[in-house]
């Protein structure tokens, strides 16, 4: 079974460390893995992305229409992933908007949520919206935005929760309680969302 994760955001959001956790998870599961990280000018406000490919894969980059799960940590950055989403694949859209200088003055120029959603839906993706930044603030660790998303990913991609939590603790050995809380919140929201949807469909 092949499983392709594409994670994208802006430098400082934890896109690379999130990818590292997923890659370490795959290693622990004994799966073949390719983990590509874009190490560019992210530190200086630029875009950042990482790709984790599990299973019988060869290339380090996810081919078009092959991403099973896309995690958009900064909303507008998600636009770069449209060609990668597998029809029927899942896209997690974090509501975080990070404005570069000119958009700070003209926030109205930032792409609308509805239009981004429309494009992904046209591409055949299933969408999952979340405000991970707010939840991370609520648990008292704003930096844990990526860990909230890790909770969501773990549920949506049916990853082995125990192994993910072990890897999480190994990778981030500090603020363990708060990180666990962030993870749990993300995991539960994804779980409840699914339950609600099923109720709606029933």
């Amino acid at each position: 079974m092949e499983n392709n994760f594409y994670l994208i955001g802006v430098g400082g959001q934890g896109v690379i460390s999130l990818g590292q956790i997923l890659a370490d998870y795959a290693l622990k599961k004994g799966e073949r893995v390719k983990f590509f990280k874009e190490v560019g000018m992210a530190q200086r406000g630029g875009p950042a992305h990482s790709e984790v490919r599990m299973g019988e894969v060869f290339g380090s980059r996810i081919p078009p229409l092959s991403a099973d799960l896309v995690v958009v940590m900064e909303l507008a950055e998600g636009l770069k992933t449209l060609e990668l989403v597998k029809p029927g694949g899942m896209v997690i859209l974090n509501k975080k908007k990070i404005y570069p200088l000119d958009l700070m003055v003209h926030p109205e120029k930032y792409p609308k949520e509805a239009e981004i959603a429309y494009l992904f839906e046209e591409a055949g993706a299933k969408l999952f919206w979340i405000d991970a930044g707010e939840i991370a603030n609520e648990v008292g660790l704003p930096l844990a935005e990526n860990i909230v998303l890790l909770g969501v990913i773990t549920y949506l991609a049916s990853l082995d929760k125990e192994i993910i939590l072990t890897v999480l603790k190994e990778n981030i050995p500090y603020e363990v309680e708060k990180n666990m809380a962030a993870f749990d919140r993300g995991y539960k929201i994804a779980e409840e969302n699914k339950a609600e949807k099923e109720k709606g469909e029933a």
Binding site: V10, A23, D24, L27, R32, V33, K34, F35, F36, K37, E38, V39, G40, M41, Q43, R44, G45, G46, P47, E56, V57, F58, G59, S60, R61, P63, P64, L65, A76, E77, L79, K80, L82, E83, P100, L101, L103, M104, V105, P107, Y110, P111, E115, I116, L119, E122, A123
Partner: protein, 629 residues
């Protein structure tokens, strides 16, 4: 044991397993992580590892060690080979006794900026064999192989990586540490081999280097590594008239395509790209009718295939596809889609529908551009701010004063809002190019800006030249104490860390020693004094140097240096955005006017406390946060 390692980390594993005793290099994306990963292990390994002042020096150090019989490796990015090439050419002629590996990481796609140049040409021109890495496992295996080949042939060898191979992690099968016989360092005097002052000796050395090439191919062509990788490998698919010849990082996408579309075609993988396995290529061509060459950057293999495929009387003609027929580009790294597209032409069939182009077009239009700027607290922000102010105070218009930029973080002064730097060429070149502008007859002041590491690397000779030729020039050395852009490596100007023994070299003293009469040191966090000093320098009739000294804020923060942070008094702030527009500090957030609120600025908790914003504020709305607030 299986480990998750990037290509560069796998090179490190190879270095350790192969018992390399001297490792030298200069930072450069995508090669940097080799030494960056190795350096913290220096005590544990008991070997010598260093960031040298530039790639030429690094190569010389590795060669010296290999001449004394030790295993040595030097690392650099492709631009670094240009710097090291002068020495490498001679080293290759002389050969070596210990194993000598030159690890070079190319950057097809220019992810880190700089020319995409294909370092495989260097293998040819310097007469050095070259292995081309296609996977992370090879990064480990080929370090060992390269050292083995180097010692067997008695000459240096290139190990070439590319961004995609170096920066991807995958599960690696690590091997055993080789048990090498402990050798004392020993160098035998042999001027026929190690000097160049005789044409007969040089030509004899050249011939020996050529002989070594042939020997290297003989060893590599049928070599199988510990983990089972065949360096050069031919796969014949019975009954298929189609073939692919490839080398390097394209392997991932090619094999991915074979898997996805279940293609049955013959292929030839080339792991040693110099010299090429001509016999193997000829055998391959004999069995296919159409062949696609997959190699990134220049059509080096493709041209050789054309030569080898030229049919004799009555021989069949093979159709060759690649770059020379414009099927594939000469620039960039190949995406999966490009590889797939080329395979479609080879097989004359459509493999799969592409994503909806209209959708992609719309998404592209909506994308948010993120111009890179200086980090929070970056001292360079203060330097460029002061430089722009000094130019303005001297009544020059913006855009009248040529400012040559250089490699590293300092070049970000080209971006908004500073828009200072006009050019970027190569390490140290800002100072040389600036002199050319003066001799061409530019009357107004010309300024060169350069970072500390870049100055040590190649900025000193052009500065000496400016002194000797009496060129009026302002050289601003932005000394943040670190080789920051590539990941905060040390350089001769770095404040020595507790755990290492180093002698710090003072840049201002170096400049005085070079004969510069006017050398001023400024603090970019003190704009008033900085502006004054730069104004003086711009009006000085000879070459003058400003050393703008303040530690990289990210490193200072890591070393727990804390400065008083700033906050905005919302009552006083008029929302004029002068601070934001002149400094573009990432710790600033502008809140536009809303129904019940006037517009105002916010300074977030990311503030490092450089204090420049307070200097720019016309209403005095930015104040220091006092303890306990």
């Amino acid at each position: 044991m299986r480990k998750l390692l990037t290509g560069n980390e796998a090179v490190v594993e190879g270095i350790i397993e192969a018992g390399v005793e001297v490792v030298s290099g200069y930072p450069g994306t995508p090669s940097t992580e080799v030494i960056l990963t190795l350096l913290p292990l220096v005590k544990e390994l008991g070997i010598h590892i260093e960031w040298s002042v530039n790639e030429k020096v690094a190569a010389e150090i590795a060669a010296g060690a290999a001449w004394a019989g030790k295993r040595a490796l030097t690392t650099m990015k492709m631009s670094g080979v240009n710097v090291a090439a002068d020495s490498l050419a001679s080293i290759a002629y002389s050969g070596c006794t210990g194993g000598l590996v030159i690890f070079v990481a190319d950057d097809p796609g220019a992810h880190a900026g700089m020319p995409e140049q294909d370092s495989r040409y260097y293998a040819k021109s310097l007469v050095i064999p070259m292995l081309d890495l296609a996977s992370q496992q090879e990064c480990l295996d080929y370090v060992k192989l390269a050292l083995e080949i180097s010692e067997k042939i008695g000459g240096p060898i290139f190990l070439r990586s590319t961004t995609e191979v170096s920066h991807t992690a995958s599960n690696i099968e690590t091997g055993k540490k080789l048990k090498l016989e402990k050798k004392e360092a020993h160098f035998e005097r042999n001027i026929v081999k190690y000097t160049k002052a005789s044409s007969a000796w040089c030509m004899a050395q050249h011939q020996e280097a050529l002989n070594r090439l042939a020997l290297a191919l003989k060893i590599a062509d049928n070599y199988v590594t510990e983990s089972g990788i065949k360096v050069n490998k031919t796969h014949f698919e019975p009954d298929s008239p189609y073939g692919v010849i490839y080398a390097g990082a394209v392997e991932g996408n090619f094999r991915e395509a074979l898997k996805i579309y279940q293609l049955k075609i013959s292929w030839l993988k080339i792991g040693m790209v110099h010299p090429l396995p001509e016999e193997r290529i000829k055998e391959f061509l004999a069995k296919v009718d159409r062949v696609l060459i997959l190699e990134e950057l220049d059509p080096i293999i493709e041209k050789e295939v054309f030569r080898l495929a030229s049919p004799g009387d009555g021989e069949k003609k093979v159709k060759i596809l690649g770059k020379l027929d414009h099927l594939l580009p000469l620039t960039g790294n190949y995406s999966f889609r490009q590889v797939k597209g080329a395979l479609e032409v080879l097989l004359d069939t459509q493999l799969e529908v592409d994503p909806d182009p209209q959708l992609l077009q719309r998404a592209k239009e909506l994308e948010v551009k993120r111009p890179t700027s200086f980090c929070v607290g970056c001292p360079h922000r203060g330097t460029y701010f002061a430089l722009n102010q000094a130019i303005k105070n001297l009544k020059y218009k913006k855009g009248e004063i040529i400012i040559t930029g250089d490699i590293g973080c300092t070049i970000l002064g080209m971006n908004q809002p500073f828009e200072s730097c006009w050019t970027e060429v190569a390490m140290g070149a800002s100072i040389g190019i600036a002199q050319g502008f003066k001799w061409a007859g530019i009357k107004k002041p010309v300024v060169a800006t350069i970072g500390d590491s870049t100055f040590f690397h190649a900025g000193i000779p052009p500065l000496i030249n400016a002194v000797y030729q009496q060129v009026p020039l302002t050289v601003i050395i932005l000394d943040n104490g670190w080789t920051a852009m590539t990941g905060f490596e040390e350089n001769p100007g770095t404040i020595p860390l507790k755990e290492v023994s180093r002698t710090r070299v003072d840049i201002a003293e170096v400049c005085r020693g070079c004969g510069v009469k006017k050398v001023n040191t400024i603090d970019p966090y003190r704009p008033e004094e900085a502006i004054k000093a730069i104004m003086e320098s711009l009006e000085y009739p000879e070459v003058s140097v400003i050393v703008s000294r303040r530690e990289c804020a990210l490193q200072a923060k890591r070393r727990e240096i804390r400065l008083p942070q700033r906050k905005v008094d919302i009552e006083k702030c008029t929302g004029c955005r002068i601070c934001l527009n002149t400094l573009a500090c990432p710790a600033m957030v502008f809140h536009p006017k809303e129904e019940n609120n006037k517009p105002y600025m916010e300074i977030t908790a990311d503030c490092f406390g450089c204090g420049l914003c307070a200097f720019t504020c016309p209403t005095g709305a930015i104040e220091v946060i006092k303890d306990g607030e």
